[in-house]
């Protein structure tokens, strides 16, 4: 993947200098739900196999034959890619283009369909490839109930959404995971969402209903990366406090995260004034960075870690798209107090995936007919939400969606990045649907936040005290070069290049045609 060009088109506008395969991948993402899943899978396979030109022509063929209408932006990007690959533009000149593509909304099932959970068998099937694919951060499953594209396959159709970080290879990940599933007899479309790229309606809606598959257990043999925790933590705070009052609950995220974590200890101290307080408390620490627009939650989560390590106040230079704050080294240290430690233990602890699930289910009071898997959904408070949740989160969605959209739309340029970036692909956005039962869910949400905030508040106070002390000692606090300052940029050393990348073409054994391996005779010899 050496070809690099300007970033044009959907999803690429904010990322100049993107490699061509990634641009094509992003374009394919934007067409998901409007082309049939097999077309996307085949195009991604070609893409991963470095057949960029073939992939583009293949997509164009499907678009022309299916009379799929593109937006001007999509068409421009496709034309640009054709030009970059020196392909004949005549093919795409016939495509139908419109100012505004009006595509119906896809529906996704929350939970099992016909007794079959969307994540069943997926973790085992992808286990081998996750060991070699770098920077895969999360995986979610959901059933799509509506047909996609003019030559749609049957529904319900399983979708696997994979969140990757900047160190991941989207085309390769999409192909390898899809191939692994296919070999295991699971047909699914694999949509790889890159951290920091805005999601379209299709993927956003899918994520709202998806179930997460924890896969960082020992059996998966992967470098530990837990961006999810970070995301989950921040998200609730942001959405609730600064945002509007309607408070849909984007927090659905949280449950997921919390679920994975078996942290009961913290829960002991419950009710404190909810998020309102959090916001209120935080302002003080905003002092160091006065101009920050929404300093509260961001700073809380972000600064906490350093607070424990060493007093750190300057948050200005947080790397824009690095690894999650709690990545490699620091995580275990600080997090213990909060829920990080337990969470990790839960997931990885007992038996990786299985173990995690077992743990999760314990706290969960048996929801009536709630999906039995409860992979990630299983949060400490799922019981309430699950029963009421309809297959489709109809009513509450609109507001939530809009809010999310707003959030995503933000360029998220500055160090604050953690706030918005989350929504996009990796975790936050992955938040499942808001529970219809606002009351109950809210309560549990607030409960969790309270716990977090309480601990964080304590740490925050310590931090502030420490800061005050230092300020008194050292007049110029601004010069952060002091020994107590923590450089965050170095903490997020993501395993970007971790692990050798397997070439997508590397398949085991001979090629299978129509379900049958080649035999000795083969086709008649050429003359």
């Amino acid at each position: 993947m050496t070809q690099v060009a300007r970033g044009v088109g959907p999803g690429a506008a904010s990322r100049p200098g993107i490699a061509l395969p990634v641009r094509i991948h992003d374009l394919l993402l934007s067409m998901a739900g409007r082309l049939d899943d097999d077309a996307l899978a085949d195009a991604r396979q070609m893409l991963a196999s470095a057949e960029l030109d073939r992939s583009l022509e293949y997509v164009a063929g499907c678009l022309v034959a299916g009379r799929v209408v593109l937006s001007h932006e999509q068409h421009a990007e496709l034309a640009s890619l054709f030009a970059d690959m020196f392909l004949d533009q005549d093919l795409i000149d016939r495509l139908l283009v419109t100012d505004r593509v009006i595509a119906g909304r896809h529906r996704f099932a929350f939970g099992a369909v016909d007794g079959l959970d969307p994540e069943r068998g997926v973790a085992d099937a992808v286990r081998p490839v996750l060991g070699v694919l770098p920077d895969v951060r999360s995986m979610w499953c959901v059933w799509r109930l509506t047909p996609a594209g003019p030559a749609s396959g049957p529904v319900p159709h399983r979708m696997v959404l994979v969140g990757i970080g900047p160190g991941g290879f989207a085309p390769a990940t999409a192909y390898r995971v899809e191939d692994a599933l296919r070999r295991a007899g699971i047909r699914a479309s694999v949509e790889v969402l890159m951290d920091g790229v805005e999601l379209g309606d299709y993927h956003r809606e899918a994520m709202r209903n998806a179930r997460q598959i924890p896969f960082d257990g020992p059996g998966f043999n992967r470098p530990r990366v837990e961006p999810a925790y970070q995301a989950a933590r921040i998200e609730p705070a942001r959405v609730e406090a600064p945002r509007m009052a309607p408070a849909p609950e984007p927090p659905r995220l949280e449950p997921a995260r919390v679920t994975a974590v078996p942290p009961e200890p913290a829960r002991v101290e419950p009710p404190e004034p909810a998020r309102a307080e959090a916001a209120r408390v935080e302002p003080p620490r905003v002092e160091p960075e006065p101009q920050r627009p929404e300093p509260p939650r961001m700073s809380v989560v972000r600064d906490l870690p350093p607070a424990v390590d060493a007093p750190r106040i300057d948050t200005s230079e947080v790397p824009v798209r690095k690894a999650p704050p709690f990545s490699d080294d620091a995580p275990s240290r600080l997090d213990p107090p909060t829920m990080m430690a337990p969470s990790t233990g839960g997931l990885v602890g007992p038996g990786g995936l299985v173990g995690g699930q077992a743990n999760e289910e314990e706290p969960t009071p048996p929801p009536m007919e709630a999906p039995r898997v409860e992979a990630v959904r299983t949060d400490p408070f799922p019981a309430e939400a699950a029963p009421v949740r309809p297959v489709e989160p109809a009513p509450d969605e609109p507001p939530a969606m809009q809010e999310e959209a707003l959030t995503d739309a933000r360029p998220s340029p500055s160090p604050r990045r953690r706030e918005e970036p989350q929504d996009p692909p990796s975790r936050p956005r992955l938040a499942p649907a808001p529970a219809p039962n606002a009351g109950v869910d809210k309560h549990s949400q607030a409960f969790v936040d309270d716990i977090l905030n309480t601990q964080e508040r304590n740490l925050l106070k310590e931090l502030q005290d420490e800061l005050a002390r230092r300020e008194q000692q050292d007049p110029p606090p601004a010069q952060n070069s002091g020994s107590w300052r923590v450089d965050r940029s170095g903490r997020h050393g993501k395993p970007a290049t971790a692990g050798p990348f397997d070439h997508p073409n590397q398949t085991t054994g001979p090629m299978i045609i129509n379900g049958v391996p080649p035999h000795d005779r083969g086709y008649p010899p050429a003359t």
Partner: protein
């Protein structure tokens, strides 16, 4: 008949003859493109596919290939690079009239196909057969054998989409123009076929 129709018919016959020699996954897609009028896309993809899959073609097929795709934008260099073979007389599959896996199951596919095909004047015959690889490996695949007088490419695309919607991701639909000399694959399939819609009298073209 227009020039485009000629090219479409030639291309349809070519794709018909490639049954059992190209992977179903690619073949159904190429046929879908033809049905959707994307002959220019097909002209770019098919020669490359033949080369990559190392599929040799007969003289008749080569003629069809050139007639169908050369003027539609195919790369002449690729077309001429496709190797030739004297004739195709081996079929890698065996066919049966019934699927052992579906003995006691209702045939909902036939029901839907019957509804879709009802009253079409271009139909001559509609039959069904089950295909299995000679090695005994792989799944058993339904092959729908339709004989039609006109509009074969479009009918192929239509039936393929119906079967996909019903759960067959890579449908095997062979719509044979009336009166052509059938390749061995189709002769073998027809030999082991049964009417797909028993009791329904198809309009005799």
């Amino acid at each position: 008949m227009t020039e485009v129709d000629d090219r479409t018919d030639a291309c349809h016959e070519l794709l018909l003859r490639l049954a059992g020699r190209l992977p179903d996954r690619q073949l159904w897609r190429l046929r879908d493109w033809l049905a959707g009028g994307a002959l220019d896309a097909l002209a770019r993809a098919l020669p490359l596919t033949l080369l990559r899959e190392r599929v040799a073609i007969t003289a008749r097929e080569s003629m069809l290939l050139n007639a169908a795709l050369l003027d539609a934008g195919a790369d002449a260099g690729r077309l001429h690079a496709v190797p030739w073979v004297d004739q195709i007389d081996e079929v890698d599959y065996t066919f049966t009239s019934e699927s052992p896996e579906r003995v006691n199951l209702g045939d909902s596919e036939a029901v839907v196909l019957g509804a879709v095909l009802h009253g079409r004047s271009e139909l001559v015959d509609v039959r069904g057969s089950w295909r299995r690889h000679r090695s005994g490996m792989g799944p058993t695949t339904r092959i729908v054998l339709v004989t039609a007088s006109t509009g074969c490419a479009r009918l192929t695309g239509e039936l393929q989409r119906v079967l996909r919607a019903l759960g067959t991701h890579e449908p095997g639909v062979e719509v044979m123009p009336e009166g052509i000399e059938l390749p061995p694959y189709h002769r073998a399939a027809l030999a082991a076929s049964e009417p797909l819609l028993p009791g329904v009298i198809v309009h005799q073209g």
